[in-house]
């Protein structure tokens, strides 16, 4: 027979368990996780030490920014509530803070600070309620009561464990209490009394949270709990923004509330905590502490009595089935009405309609983030400023759309969850389902930007073409990012993972945000050409990522196998990137002194091209990649090459002639002065360029795109990418050349024809320039 542990030991064990869980959770989310396969599941101990560094690195800036907000709030409250004149002066803050530390806080400031502490205390109740535990179908209390300890021990353990293991609450309360202690003269000892005060408040928060979640669990069905949790997660933004607004500026309307706090607020637990921290003598500090502890003990006892009463019929979650059934009858009547979209899209919309959590995260949160920022910091007038700043307006609209996509399209495999197997039983294929979802979310993500842009256009004093153009650019980006989000979501999600934290790889989320940032940079780029370049590159990237994701889909539920290597558009984009990076590097090494001459650039081009070509070939050979473009095949290339080259050359010469006629031809390059220059240029243009560029742009990019696109779109996109990597003045003829070479490649099937087109075109254009000059 074993002896059950004493009540204190049981409580300690449960608290330790919870802290252990918290530690595991924070460690696993901070650490990059390798994809484990098959039997090799041996744990790898002894790596613990490294984790703390990452944790500290992430925590330090967070604590610093929270600390600085807390510091600013105390000072701002002091300035506003005590009407301090020195605050307005430039650099007067130092004087203000020394003056604040000199004596006790005024009654108004004490009331204001207790108001802020109350708001933060609400945050420490609502954030844990709003982040998940409620929505989980299994209730851990049902398990806890089966342990050999009395119910009251279990309940006390639960409240205490939740007081200690409440990182969000601690992060909300500790900086502010520490700052109050600092300005009350505790100096570097401030964290200690601050921690004590915060812990007492956190115990009360834990009690309230336990009462609320127990009550809800007992009376609501799981699906309703999920919806309620979504509401709470929104609700907690209110005290959070209000509490933070004190630290952000002096305009927010929360200051008026702080000023209106009645005197009795000093006797509430937050008020007593402030009084304790600001007490000038040990006696009054002890008195306030005793009052605080007494009140807390009383409230905890009271809460425990209510909790016992809640659980008087046992720990049984209510309404497992009964309360969901009420809606019957209405449902079947809906069948056969009007239909929107495909079957998958209709299902997605139904889920969106019912799952409030999902609805809130996708459609409401972006608005609230934006709105909260504007309202609580008192910058309502900034909305007017948006009209005068097209770039800011367009990027705000784009941000709203892509944020929605991050929460929806990016998550879409993750959202399928355990039911993903169903998609594998249908005769339409998973890729089709993903495509339909991308379409749906592209449309839904456009709603806010469209409303925003529509209102801006309506309110604008006069029509502005530049603004309309930026808006179009922002809107064009959203469908592209819907595709990118779905594709990255495929790589990001691990449907086989068992832990919630591992189901989503956050690296890809950062990658998505980074790419979003790039497009916003493009919106701000200013020049039309640069913006065009970005749109073309983003489009190509979207197709390339989609292709990779599509290859991945049949292997998603397989823990061991991965798709065989095949040439894809992504390879082409990477090769193109490598080509240009190498070219820049080679040029940097070659030129050393003075500006680069033609010889150097030709040599750099040749070296970069040869290296890229060799590397790509080597990688393909090593990985036994299928579909590597071939230079020759059986079909004769000459006729295709001549037709293509003739078309391209005519358009190229026509273009240069037009430029001459309108007098915008660039002046003859001074680099062409030397006698050998023409030979270098010839070798570069007729031999090196066709070989390397055709391999990358026609072979890899067009060939890769061709796997998932019809012939002409693949030709046009690869020609567009080919054009944008050339100087702006020659983009148009190069685009036509790309089209002709692409056509020759499509018809001939090998690289010889497009290489000949490219070589002949370059030779003809060079000769023409020689003649003209």
């Amino acid at each position: 027979m074993t002896v059950p542990p004493s009540a204190f030991r049981a409580i300690w064990l449960l608290i330790r368990l919870r802290l252990q869980r918290l530690l595991n959770l924070s460690c696993s989310s901070l650490l990059f996780r390798r994809h484990q396969t098959g039997k090799s599941r041996a744990a790898s101990p002894g790596k613990r030490r490294g984790r703390w560094i990452t944790g500290v690195l992430l925590l330090a800036p967070m604590l610093f920014s929270f600390g600085s907000i807390a510091r600013n709030s105390v000072l701002n409250l002091h300035c506003q509530l005590d009407a301090v004149a020195a605050c307005g002066l430039h650099g007067g803050m130092d004087a203000v803070s020394t003056q604040l530390m000199a004596g006790p806080f005024s009654a108004a400031l004490l009331a204001g600070l207790s108001f802020q502490l109350t708001l933060l205390w609400l945050v420490s109740v609502l954030v844990p309620l709003g982040t998940g535990e409620l929505a989980r179908p299994d209730w851990d209390l049902e398990w806890l009561v089966t342990l050999p300890a009395s119910t009251s021990t279990v309940l006390w353990a639960r409240v205490l464990e939740r007081s200690v293991a409440n990182p969000a609450g601690l992060l909300a309360l500790l900086p502010t209490t520490a700052m109050i202690a600092w300005y009350s003269g505790y100096g570097w000892w401030s964290p200690l009394p601050a921690l004590a005060a915060s812990l007492v408040l956190l115990m009360l928060a834990a009690m309230l949270r336990t009462l609320v979640d127990t009550g809800l669990r007992l009376s609501l069905a799981p699906s309703k709990l999920g919806n309620l949790q979504a509401m709470i997660s929104i609700l907690c933004l209110l005290p959070m923004y209000a509490g933070m607004s004190f630290g952000m500026g002096t305009q927010g309307f929360a200051f008026a509330w702080a000023a209106a706090m009645p005197a009795w607020s000093g006797w509430t637990p937050p008020g007593l905590a402030v009084a304790m921290l600001n007490a000038q003598a040990a006696g009054s500090a002890l008195l306030a502490a005793a009052a605080l502890l007494g009140q807390a003990a009383l409230l905890l006892m009271l809460g425990m009595a209510v909790l016992r009463r809640q659980l008087r019929h046992g720990v049984v979650g209510s309404g497992q089935r009964a309360s969901v059934r009420k809606a019957s009858g209405k449902v079947s009547a809906q069948a056969g009405r009007w239909q929107v979209g495909s079957v998958i899209q209709r299902r997605e919309l139904t889920l969106l309609k019912r799952d409030r959590n999902f609805l809130v995260q996708t459609m409401l949160l972006p608005l609230l983030i934006l709105g909260g920022q504007v309202v609580f910091t008192g910058r309502l007038q900034d909305l007017q400023g948006l009209l005068g700043n097209p770039v800011l307006l367009a990027s705000t609209g784009f941000f709203l759309g892509t944020y929605t996509l991050l929460m929806s399209a990016f998550q879409n495999l993750h959202k399928e969850g355990g039911a993903l197997w169903l998609l594998y039983t249908f005769p339409v294929g998973v890729e089709q389902a993903l495509r339909e979802k991308a379409q749906l979310w592209a449309v839904l993500a456009m709603i806010y930007p469209l409303i925003m842009f529509g209102m801006a256009l309506a309110w604008m004093p006069a029509w502005r073409w530049d603004m309309a153009g930026l808006m179009l650019l922002a809107l064009a980006g959203i469908p592209l990012y819907a595709v990118i989000a779905v594709a990255l979501g495929v790589f990001a999600s691990d449907p086989l993972a068992t832990e919630a934290a591992a189901k989503m790889r956050s690296t890809y989320m950062y990658l998505y945000m980074l790419l979003t940032g790039l497009y916003i940079a493009a919106l701000a780029a200013g020049s039309l050409v640069q913006q065009l370049v970005f749109v073309v590159l983003t489009g190509a990237l979207a197709v390339a990522l989609w292709q990779k994701a599509r290859d991945e889909v049949p292997y998603l539920l397989d823990p061991a196998a991965s798709p065989p290597a095949r040439v894809s558009a992504a390879d082409g984009l990477m090769a193109a990137m490598l080509f240009f990076v190498l070219q820049v590097l080679a040029l940097m090494i070659l030129k050393e002194k003075g500006p680069a001459d033609l010889q150097d650039s030709a040599l750099a081009f040749g070296i970069a091209g040869a290296l890229t070509y060799a590397t790509t070939r080597l990688v393909y050979w090593r990985s036994k990649t299928a579909g590597v473009p071939r230079i020759r095949n059986d079909s004769p290339a000459w006729r295709l090459a001549l037709v293509g080259a003739a078309l391209a050359a005519v358009s190229g010469i026509g273009y240069t002639m037009l430029l001459h006629v309108y007098g915008v031809a660039p002046p003859a390059s001074p680099l062409l002065a030397g006698p050998w220059s023409w030979l270098w240029l010839g070798a570069l243009a007729v031999l090196a360029a066709p070989l390397f560029e055709e391999f990358i742009f026609r072979g890899l990019i067009q060939g890769g795109l061709r796997r998932s696109l019809p012939a002409w779109p693949a030709i046009v996109i690869s020609a567009a990418i080919f054009a944008i990597v050339h100087p702006p003045a020659s983009m148009l003829p190069v685009f036509v050349l790309g089209l002709c070479a692409g056509w020759a490649h499509e018809r001939g099937g090998s690289l010889l024809a497009p290489m000949l087109v490219h070589g002949i075109y370059n030779a003809v254009v060079l000769a023409w320039q020689l003649v003209i000059l």
């Binding site: 699906s223 079947s332 069948a335 969850g417 197997w421 061991a560």
Partner: protein, 247 residues
Amino acid sequence: MIEFQALSKRYGSFDAVHPLTLHAGRGEVFGFLGPNGAGKTTTIRMLMGILVPTGGRVLIDGLDCHRDGAAVKRKVGYLPDNPIFYDYLRGREILQFVAEMHGYPRAEAAKRAARLLTEFGLDEASDDFAVNYSLGMKKKLGLACALIHEPAVLILDEPINGLDPRASRDVQERLLRIAAAGTTIFVSTHLLDMAEKLCSRVAIIHRGALAATGSLGEIRQQLASEASLEDIFLQLTDEADTPDTAA
């Protein structure tokens, strides 16, 4: 109808399924027996294109289950060992969704869904969210999903696990009825009395390798014993016995 051609699966260095060659004919109820962890579910997932074979292939009606996955699924109904459904969707809606994904127009899909729900006794629960169903109800709903497009081949992973005795009897009778109508049924189980009643032929696998195959009579002949299927199963899957006996 179902043709395994040296199908194998390897996880890292672990052989989950050794090269497996089997054949199940049209209208046959083929039992796939083996202890826990023998590779039954892995094999079935390869049939459904959820897992990718390491070697060999498996054909259904002449189509490769991995390469021609979409075409195969037109003909196949599948019930996983632990069917998980979407949150926030009712049983009726899930069934209707599956029917629509198989290409039925909406009204027809609703009609089929209603009929199957009645047949499986899920009428009362059809307007509850499927996540709230008990295991048995989820199995029934999964079976309804597998049957809704009247497939030529049924692939069932532990179909009567979690069902009550009456439901289990109903399901078995139903399976015999549709097999008599020409449907091929490939069913994995470790419930031997069910296999004995239901299956025209069985294969017993142990540690990923085929230990015996044939009708019960044939297996008895091979082993020269008159024992029950249970005794044969225990004899063939004895842990002390190496799996090389039949591989």
